[in-house]
C-alpha cells in the first residue's frame, strides 16, 4: 500500500527530500546483509510505498510539494532531478510568489482557502496514481507561518475529503531559543488543530537532533542539511519494510495502519517520539560493532530517562518498584524523572535479529497501569540491515517524552496571551481570542492526561 507525502513549507520540503533520498539509497544499497531475493523484495516493497514507476525507469516520489515561495521548492526539485536516481513529479508542486511572514493566521485563513482547490487537486492526482492508499504523511514545522498554518488547513481538508485514510503529521518542534517571536502562538495553534484532524503526531525536536549532530556525528558546522539527514535516517528506520511476523517472509502491507493501531488508538494520546540507536558518522561506522543486548539496554534507558540520544544517559533513573506510584504521578509535581510509556514499538533491523531479547521492554513497571505490556509493546524484526548499519534499533514511543516541552510552550504562549501581545496579527485574519482559548483548553487537557498516566 502506498503513502502519499505532503511536504509543506521550507522545513517540510527540505526534510522531505532527505527522507526520500534516504529511503531510496537504503533500498538500493548492496550492504543489506541478506539474500538477493530478499533484497529485491525489500526494494519492491519500498518502491510500492513511496515511489511511482515511470516508463523510462526513474522512480517518481509519491509527493506533493507546497510552499508560498518558489526558492526552496525549486532547490528541492533540482536536487532530486540532478541525482538521476529518482525525482519528483514534474507538476507535483504548488508555490506562490510571496511568503506569509511567519503568520499562522495568514497561512490558515488566507493562503489555505485561497489555494485549497489547487493543492487538493494535486493531492488527488497523486492519490489516483496509487493502486491502494495506506494514508498521508505530512511533513511540516510547527512554529513557522507557512508550513504550520497551511499544514493545519490542509490536514483538516484531508480529514474531510479522505475521512477513512490515515494521516500522520511529522512535526518539527522549534528550537527553545528560536528566533520567531510568535513561535509559541503558532505552535499551540498548530498542535490543537492537528490534534483534532490528524491521527498521529510524530514529533522531532530541533534541539535534540542538533545535539545528535554535535555529539554523536561530530559535525562542527551544523547545517540544516545535517539535521535533516539525521531526521531522515530516523524516519527511514521506521518506515522501511518490515516483516509481518516472526518467521514470516512477507513484508507488511500497511505499516502506517499497523503502527497507528498499536500506538495511537486513544484520541487523547496522539504524540509520538522517535529514538534511534546507534547513530554515528559514517567514518566511525566501519570501526564499531554492536551487540543487540548492548543496544537494547541503552535504548531502554533512553526511554525511561527521557534521553534523546545514547550519550549522556542518566543511568540513575529506575522504574518504580511495583506497588508504589511512579514519580510524577501527582499533577502538581512537574518534575518527571521517570518516563511512563503508554505504548511502544521497537523496530530491529540487521544481523542476528532473531536473537535479540526484549525482556527489558516487557516490564510492566515501564507502562501505565491500564495497559498491559502484551498490548502495549510491539516488536517488528527484519533481517535486512538499514542504511549500512549492521544492527539498528528504533523506538517509536507514545509516552511522556513530550509532556515537559509541551507544557513549557503552552506556559510561554499563555503568558504572551495574557498580556495580549501580538494578538492583532492573528485577529486581523480571523483567528479570534476564542480560538486561542480553545487551543489552550485542548492542550492543557492533553498535558494533564499525559501527566496522569
Amino acid at each position: 500500500m502506498s503513502i502519499v507525502t505532503v511536504q509543506l513549507g521550507q522545513c517540510g520540503n527540505q526534510i522531505g527530500f532527505e527522507v526520500f533520498d534516504t529511503l531510496f539509497s537504503d533500498s538500493h544499497s548492496s550492504q543489506g546483509l541478506c539474500s538477493k531475493r530478499e533484497n529485491e523484495a525489500y526494494r519492491a516493497s519500498c518502491k510500492e510505498r513511496f515511489f511511482n514507476e515511470e516508463e523510462n525507469g526513474v522512480p517518481i516520489a509519491r509527493a506533493v510539494l507546497v510552499d508560498m515561495e518558489p526558492k526552496v521548492i525549486n532547490q528541492t526539485l533540482s536536487k532530486a532531478a540532478q541525482s538521476g536516481r529518482w525525482k519528483y513529479g514534474q507538476h507535483a508542486y504548488f508555490c506562490q510568489k510571496q511568503g506569509s511572514g511567519n503568520n499562522w493566521a495568514y497561512g490558515y485563513s488566507v493562503h489555505g482557502p485561497r489555494h485549497e482547490e489547487s493543492i487538493m487537486n494535486l493531492i488527488q492526482k497523486e492519490v489516483e496514481k496509487c493502486d491502494s492508499l495506506s494514508g498521508f504523511f505530512i511533513i511540516m514545522s510547527m512554529a513557522g507561518g507557512t508550513g504550520s498554518g497551511i499544514g493545519a488547513f490542509v490536514t483538516q481538508n484531508l480529514q474531510d475529503q479522505y475521512a477513512h485514510s490515515l494521516k500522520m503529521n511529522q512535526i518539527i518542534w522549534p528550537y527553545g531559543t528560536g528566533e520567531v517571536i510568535v513561535q509559541n502562538y503558532n505552535s499551540i495553534l498548530t498542535l490543537s488543530h492537528l490534534y483534532r484532524s490528524s491521527d498521529a503526531l510524530l514529533v522531532h525536536e530541533n534541539d535534540a537532533v542538533h545535539k545528535i549532530c554535535a555529539k554523536l556525528m561530530n559535525i562542527k558546522q551544523i547545517s540544516f542539511s545535517d539535521i535533516n539527514q539525521v531526521l531522515a535516517h530516523q524516519l527511514g528506520s521506521v518506515f522501511q519494510p518490515v516483516y509481518c511476523a516472526e518467521g514470516s517472509f512477507h513484508y507488511r502491507r500497511n505499516p502506517l495502519g499497523d503502527l497507528m493501531e498499536n500506538l495511537v488508538p486513544h484520541p487523547e494520546f496522539k504524540m509520538l517520539g522517535v529514538r534511534n540507536i546507534p547513530q554515528m558518522s559514517e567514518n566511525s561506522l566501519a570501526y564499531s560493532t554492536f551487540t543487540w543486548a548492548g543496544l537494547l539496554k541503552h535504548l531502554r534507558q533512553m526511554l525511561i530517562s527521557h534521553a534523546k540520544m545514547e550519550e549522556g544517559i542518566d543511568w540513575q533513573v529506575r522504574p518504580p518498584l511495583s506497588g508504589l506510584p511512579p514519580l510524577g504521578k501527582m499533577p502538581l509535581n512537574k518534575e518527571l524523572h521517570f518516563n511512563t510509556s503508554i505504548a511502544n514499538l521497537v523496530i530491529l533491523r540487521g544481523k542476528d535479529v532473531q536473537s535479540a531479547d526484549l525482556e527489558g521492554f516487557k516490564d510492566p513497571a515501564l507502562y501505565t497501569s491500564w495497559l498491559h505490556p502484551i498490548h502495549a509493546l510491539n516488536v517488528w524484526k527484519t533481517q535486512r540491515a538499514f542504511s549500512k548499519y549492521e544492527k539498528s534499533a528504533s523506538l517509536v514511543s507514545n509516552s511522556q517524552f513530550l509532556v515537559k516541552p509541551l507544557d513549557m510552550i503552552v506556559g510561554k504562549a499563555w503568558n504572551m496571551f495574557a498580556s495580549k501581545a501580538y494578538l492583532h496579527q492573528y485577529t486581523k485574519f480571523g483567528i479570534e481570542e476564542e480560538d486561542f482559548l480553545d487551543s489552550f483548553t485542548l492542550l492543557e487537557q492533553v498535558v494533564a492526561s499525559y501527566y496522569n498516566l
Binding site: 491502494s132 485514510s165 495502519g257 498499536n262 488508538p265 491500564w370
Partner: protein
C-alpha cells in the same frame, strides 16, 4: 413424523439392489456421507454405526462457516451440538436426547433423525447450493448474509474488578483503525478487480460476460491452481449427479425407513403428552421483543389520541352542519377526494420504498453498452439503494447521539458549578 407420499412407481420397486444404490447416491450427495453398510447396521441399532451417523448429522447441522474448525471437534462435543440443534429445530422424539454423550449408541435413532431432516426439506440440494463453486467475482449486494451468520461465538468474559475507561477507549480506537484499514484493503481490491476486468476484455468465450474473472484469470496464470479448480468442479458434478439419482429412487428409501420405524420399540407413554420443544428465544431477544411490543402499543395509543382530538376539534368547528340533503353531494365529493388522496399516498409510499431491494451475491461484470434490463442489476441502482440505507442509518445515529447529548446536558445541569470539558473528537 410426516413424509411425502407419491404415487407408487413400479420402476422404483424393481430389484433387490435398488436400496443400496439409492442409499449410496444419498451418501454421495451429502458431505461426509457414510457407506450403505452403516445404514444397514443402523437399522438393527448396531453400536458401531453410531459414530459415523453422529458425525454426518453434525456436518449437516453445524453452520456453514464452521467447516474448518468443526472437523477437529471431539465426538462428545459433536454429539452435544447435534442434540441441541435437533431440539431447537423441533425434533419430536425424546429418545435422541437420552442417548449417551460418548456417541457409542443409538444408530437407529440417528437414522430416524436423518430421515426426519431429509423429509423436512430438500437437504442435499441446499447443501450443494451452499458449497457451489464460484467462478465469477461474487459481490454481495445486501447485508442479509452478514447479519444471518454472526460468526463464531465469542466467549463472554467478565472483567475482574473495575476497568479503566482509558483501556476501553484504547480498544475502541484499535477497532476503528482496523475498520479503516479494512476499507483501504477493500478499495485496493476494487481497483485490482477493475484492472483485471479491463485488461481481459474480449478474452471470455461467453460473449455476454466479455471478460475474465479473478478465478478464471488465476486458472490461466497458474496451471496447478487450474487443476485444483477442475477437481473441485468435478467433485461438485459428482454431488449433483448423486442428488439426481437419489431423487429418482428415494421412494425405495422411504419404504425401507417405514420398516426401520417399525423395528423401534414403542415410545414411553409419557412422551406422548410432552409438548415438542420449541426453539428457545434468547433472553435478550425476548426482552427486545417486549420492548418493541410496548413501543408499538404506546405509538398506537398516541395515534388514537391524536385522531380523537382532531375529530373532536373538527366536530366542534363544524357543529351540527353537514347533515342536510344539500350536503350529501358535497360529502360524497369529499369522500372521493379523500380516497384518492389516500391511494396517492399509498402509491407514493410504495414507490418511495423503491423497487424490491436486491439480495444475495451477484457476479460482477464490466459492461460497455447499455445491457437490456431483465435479470441484470446495475451497479448504480445498488449504490443508490445502499446510499439511501446509509442515510437512514446515519439519521438514526444522529438522533441517538442527540438523545445522548441531551441526557448528558441534563446530568451536567444537575451539578451546578461544574464545567464539563468534552474530550477531543475522535
Amino acid at each position: 413424523m410426516g413424509r411425502r407420499r407419491r404415487l407408487v412407481d413400479p420402476a422404483a420397486e424393481a430389484g433387490a439392489g435398488a436400496l443400496p444404490k439409492v442409499i449410496a447416491a444419498l451418501s454421495r450427495s451429502l458431505p461426509a456421507g457414510p457407506s450403505p453398510e452403516i445404514f444397514r447396521r443402523a437399522k438393527f441399532d448396531r453400536p458401531e454405526a453410531a459414530p459415523a451417523l453422529w458425525q454426518l448429522l453434525f456436518r449437516l447441522l453445524s453452520p456453514r462457516s464452521a467447516d474448518g474448525a468443526s472437523a477437529s471437534l471431539a465426538l462428545e462435543a459433536q454429539v452435544c451440538l447435534v442434540k441441541s440443534a435437533l431440539r431447537s429445530q423441533g425434533y419430536p422424539r425424546l429418545v435422541l436426547a437420552q442417548l449417551p454423550e460418548d456417541g457409542s449408541r443409538g444408530s437407529r435413532e440417528l437414522l430416524l433423525a436423518l430421515s426426519w431432516l431429509l423429509a423436512r426439506g430438500p437437504l442435499p440440494e441446499q447443501l450443494l447450493a451452499q458449497a457451489h463453486v464460484q467462478l465469477g467475482d461474487e459481490i454481495p449486494v445486501c447485508e442479509c448474509e452478514a447479519l444471518a451468520s454472526p460468526g463464531p461465538r465469542v466467549p463472554h468474559v467478565e472483567a475482574e474488578g473495575p476497568v479503566d475507561i482509558r483501556c476501553v477507549q484504547w480498544l475502541m480506537g484499535r477497532l476503528r483503525f482496523r475498520w479503516r484499514c479494512l476499507i483501504a484493503s477493500q478499495q485496493e481490491q476494487c481497483t485490482l478487480l477493475s484492472k483485471i476486468h479491463l485488461y481481459t476484455r474480449g478474452c471470455h468465450s461467453d460473449q455476454r460476460l466479455g471478460h475474465l474473472s479473478v478465478a478464471e484469470t488465476e486458472m490461466l496464470r497458474d496451471p496447478e491452481g487450474g487443476q485444483q479448480l477442475l477437481r473441485r468442479l468435478e467433485r461438485e458434478n459428482t454431488g449433483l449427479e448423486a442428488a439426481l439419482e437419489w431423487r429418482r429412487g428415494e421412494l425405495v428409501f422411504w419404504r425401507w425407513m417405514d420398516t426401520v420405524l417399525g423395528a423401534c420399540p414403542p415410545e414411553a407413554p409419557a412422551a406422548a403428552t410432552q409438548p415438542t420443544f420449541l426453539p428457545r428465544i434468547a433472553e435478550r431477544g425476548l426482552g427486545r421483543l417486549e420492548l418493541a411490543a410496548r413501543e408499538l402499543r404506546a405509538l398506537q395509543e398516541e395515534l388514537c389520541e391524536a385522531t380523537g382530538r382532531r375529530r373532536a376539534a373538527w366536530e366542534a368547528r363544524v357543529g351540527g352542519q353537514g347533515r342536510g340533503p344539500q350536503w350529501s353531494s358535497a360529502r360524497q365529493a369529499l369522500q372521493k377526494a379523500v380516497e384518492q388522496e389516500l391511494a396517492a399516498l399509498r402509491w407514493a409510499w410504495e414507490q418511495d420504498r423503491g423497487p424490491a431491494r436486491p439480495h444475495g451475491p451477484h457476479r460482477l461484470v464490466r459492461c460497455e453498452d447499455e445491457a437490456p434490463g431483465g435479470q441484470h442489476l446495475r451497479a448504480a441502482e445498488v449504490i443508490q439503494a445502499l446510499r439511501s440505507q446509509e442515510a437512514c442509518l446515519e439519521a438514526a445515529l444522529r438522533r441517538l447521539q442527540g438523545q445522548c447529548r441531551q441526557e448528558l446536558a441534563r446530568l451536567a445541569g444537575a451539578l451546578p458549578g461544574l464545567i464539563w470539558i468534552l474530550p477531543p473528537r475522535c
